[in-house]
């Protein structure tokens, strides 16, 4: 509606830092995936494991934060951001097209995985489901995700977070260079 251009990194990065700082000054802390534990506890997972027996009500503010994050995404998508493709490096576009991602450079996200046609593609559904499971497993195993470790943890100069972030990156590189070239053309 407002047709704003996408924000450059030097606006996006500082605003993310400001959100983290504001949460700390409000007596909270910035970390998204701890909500997974909270949601499992609410759903009654405390019956299965000690890990989920904790005072989740003290964490319910974080669910409000995530609710806002989803709402903010919708506001930006439908009211603020100019509808249009993510302008990618032409080399990246070529690489992705060679893996059958035809809408690289002309969409916001690849429709084969995120578009409505994914619902009728069993392999795409399986990949998304498996991806979600791995994200959830990894975030709890590492005791944090990109927001907790890369932003909160690195900002407070913590070694475990640096190691976790290096691990995230190695994982991403491995999938990008060795898994996706086989997986994406099969979708």
């Amino acid at each position: 509606m407002l047709n704003m251009a996408p924000w450059p990194w030097y606006i996006t990065g500082p605003v993310i830092a400001a959100v983290m700082v504001a949460l700390l000054l409000f007596g909270r802390r910035f970390g998204i995936s701890s909500n997974l534990r909270t949601m499992c506890s609410i759903a009654g997972a405390g019956k299965l494991s000690e890990y989920f027996r904790f005072d989740w009500k003290a964490q319910s503010w974080n669910l409000v934060f995530v609710l806002g994050t989803g709402g903010g995404g919708a506001i930006a998508r439908f009211l603020l951001l100019t509808p249009g493709p993510v302008k990618l490096n032409p080399d990246t576009v070529e690489t992705l097209k060679s893996m059958n991602i035809e809408d690289a450079g002309s969409a916001f996200a690849p429709s084969v995985l995120f578009g409505p046609e994914a619902w009728s593609n069993p392999l795409a559904l399986l990949v998304m489901l498996l991806g979600g499971l791995l994200v959830g497993f990894g975030a709890r195993w590492a005791n944090g995700c990109t927001s907790g470790h890369a932003i909160s943890g690195l900002s407070s100069l913590q070694w475990p977070s640096l190691i976790a972030v290096v691990g995230f990156f190695i994982g991403g590189l491995t999938v990008s260079y060795f898994v996706l070239p086989i997986l994406l053309p099969a979708l």
Binding site: P6, W7, P8, W9, I11, T12, G13, P14, V15, I16, A17, V19, V21, A22, L23, L25, G27, R28, R29, G31, V64, F65, L67, G68, T69, G70, G71, G72, G73, A74, A76, R77, L80, L81, V86, L88, N89, D91, T92, L96, A107, F108, A109, P110, F114, N143, H149, I151, S152, L154, S155, S156, Q158, P160, S161, A164, G172, V175, S176, L180
Partner: protein, 76 residues
Amino acid sequence: MLRILLLGLLFGITLTMGEVISWFRIQEMFLFGSFHMYGVIGGAVALGVVFNLAARRYGWLSDTGQPLDIHQYEFG
């Protein structure tokens, strides 16, 4: 709680406006095609480090007078 919701809204708007949630941007990062994502993460972390060092040095507290809730990650 309203301010938490508003912060969440700002965070969601930022991730979207900065295209950080685009699968394409993330893929471009791993293929080393653009500085964008590195600038976003590096910029946020650099400013976060400055804040944390200053908070430690000057003993900044949260608005309720408590020490800042900096989670101490442990090797486990």
